[in-house]
Amino acid sequence: MRIKAQVAMVMHLDKCIGCHTCSVTCKNTWTNRPGMEYVWYNNVETRPGPGYPKEWENTDRYKGGWTLRNGKLHLRAGGPVSKLANIFYNPNMATIDDFYEPWTYDFEHLHKAPKKENLPVARPKSMITGKFIDKPEWGSNWDDDLAGGSEIVPMDPNVQKLQEHIAMEYEKTFMMYLPRICEHCLNPSCVASCPSGALYKRDEDGIVLVDQEACRGWRFCMNGCPYHKVYYNWNTHKAEKCNFCYPRTEAGLPTVCSETCVGRIRYIGVVLYDADRVKEAASVEDPKDLYEAQLSVFLDPNDPEVIEKAREAGINESWIKSAQDSPIYKMAMKWKIALPLHPEYRTLPMVWYVPPLSPIMNHITNEQDLSMDGYIPAVDDMRIPMEYLASLLSADDTSVIRRVLLKMAAMRVHMRAKTVGGMDEMKTSKLLQEAGTTMEELEDMARLLGVAKYNERFVIPTGRREMDDNLHYRQGACSIEGLAPAEGMVTYPYERSDLG
């Protein structure tokens, strides 16, 4: 057993209002500079839709993630030898048009335009060439709230898979929001795709970073990541990606996207996992088993044996405590209501999603007589097709989605019965049984999903600077570590004990 700690996130999609505040605050913090204008470490997609970059889920085109051949994991785009053979030209890489050509507006003109018959206009100006763009044709959220409708929705690879016809009349269609950041996977294919070894997973918290001094700009990470969350900075010619706001998480603060989330949909916490079992979990034969396999690598932070082993592995008490209080552990591993995005990519992603409930398609007849059991078929009749959610979150296994939706519905029904009344006893209902839950669990869920305060949503231990640094040495020696004398820059001519 090789225990490692991982900082992970859950997004509760039921609460996402699609306001893009996370994207904007992230943008202003990290990617608001030349070469990165087209980059959104955090973006919010309206689904169904092609997403950002266009059709990022099309693994036939971008060849992201892992694939299983003869029982062994291989990078879909090809292993190291084939990558070296393709180093002069990456056939699977997206171009700027798959993202979009970023632009600003000629605001100067509004100030300086001479007096004219017509109002002056701020024309769009490319932030790549500096030339005017007469007609912008795509943007990171061009299809926001299903804009473009029947022309754009069919570009969604998940829609193309669906058996049933999707109604595109606005009063019949469905939509949901999908905020995305880097998944900080347990089995990251971007890391394995990097010829220079510049991408790495931090040992202490699992955050995946790009070493800017080691990156040589070979660009295999760009499409090696099936989520397309590693970006090429065309100004510095290096890869950059979401860093889980590590300067904030090390200080015990949530990421900027989580901090500013208006719907409070995001939860951050620590989970413990066994690094030795990651490869095995990513290599199960049937993609539908990947979700359960992924769950099996996590360790119960309350198990005394696990705690003992974690201590041996150098994980300190505050991290173990955080893992025990982790909202992620509760939602993803204990209650199993948060699911990984596209487990079939075999990267074991660590940003989990609670699938959204949606309005019931048909009017429920005899609503006034509706018993609790009546909510069981209602789950199968929701606007967002279960197949669609399953395509996103459970490698097409609808039974997983159904169970989560039932649990979510049961939670609502139970809390309604408790606070408003007018419902029959939960105890006598088949709903509990069908959803595989208990009333206590539903109440715990309601607390965390509905009313949890800042400290419950974000359980983030501070970075362990005190554990792995010689702080006395660092004092004064920071940035000249290699040159400073071994005893540090701050020394006294007498022993500390002499001071009395």
Partner: protein
């Protein structure tokens, strides 16, 4: 004059190459990269870049065979001069044409695609144009001069001279009788070598040869130096 160009100049170039490369690696490490424009344009890059890069790899191997490996080696394994020249002209010619055609495609792409053009620096243009000069001279020598004038035996002049540079006893007098065309090819390529640390050519030193041997997943603890320090 011959002494300067064939006995001193190569060492100036070598010094610039080593000192400036080390400077760039140590002081400006973040600028060490392969500055790709694939994100802006893929279609022509595919043709141009693949032709150029594979061509120049073949050409490099050809130069090792012609300049670094002594003529005595070929004699000892029974390769006649005639056979050698047929191979060198055919192989070198194809490689040279690949390089030149690839470079011309890349150059046209560089100034005709607005996105690529905006981000091309003087160093980028210099690199491509100067490579065309060097490779164009080389290809002309191989394909035209060798077949119409004389199949010049550089293995007894340029080869020994180049190898003598490494023993710090440059036999510069070997180069004085070499045809002007060959002299220009050598000198222009040395200018190119001197330019390497100041241009995108630096990425040739970063070929990630260790990649196939390393573990797919990389973990790093935050402080690399913690174990080496008290």
């Amino acid at each position: 004059m011959g002494f300067f160009w064939w006995g001193v100049f190569p060492y100036i170039v070598g010094t610039i190459l080593v000192v400036a490369s080390v400077y760039r690696f140590v002081i400006r490490g973040t600028s060490w990269h392969a500055p790709s424009t694939e994100i802006f344009e893929k279609k022509w890059l595919r043709i141009g870049s693949l032709l150029f890069h594979w061509g120049i790899l073949f050409a490099f191997i050809g130069h090792v065979m012609g300049v670094l490996i002594p003529i005595e080696f070929y004699e000892s394994i029974g390769v006649t001069d005639h056979l050698y020249h047929i191979g060198a002209i055919a192989g070198g010619g194809i490689a040279g044409l690949m390089v030149v055609i690839g470079l011309i495609i890349l150059l046209i792409r560089k100034f005709s695609n607005p996105r690529v053009k905006v981000h091309a620096s003087f160093a980028d243009y210099f690199t491509v144009i100067w490579l065309i000069v060097v490779a164009g001279l080389g290809t002309y020598m191989t394909l035209v001069y060798n077949t119409t004038v004389v199949a010049y035996e550089y293995r007894v002049t340029i080869g020994p001279w180049f190898r003598s540079l490494f023993t710090l006893q440059p036999e510069y007098e070997l180069m004085t009788a070499v045809p002007l065309l060959f002299q220009l090819h050598v000198l222009s390529s040395f200018i190119l070598f001197a330019a390497i640390p100041f241009t995108q050519l630096i990425h040739m030193f970063s070929f990630p040869g260790r990649y196939p041997a390393r573990a797919p997943q990389q973990y790093r603890a935050r402080d690399g130096y913690k174990n080496s320090r008290p």
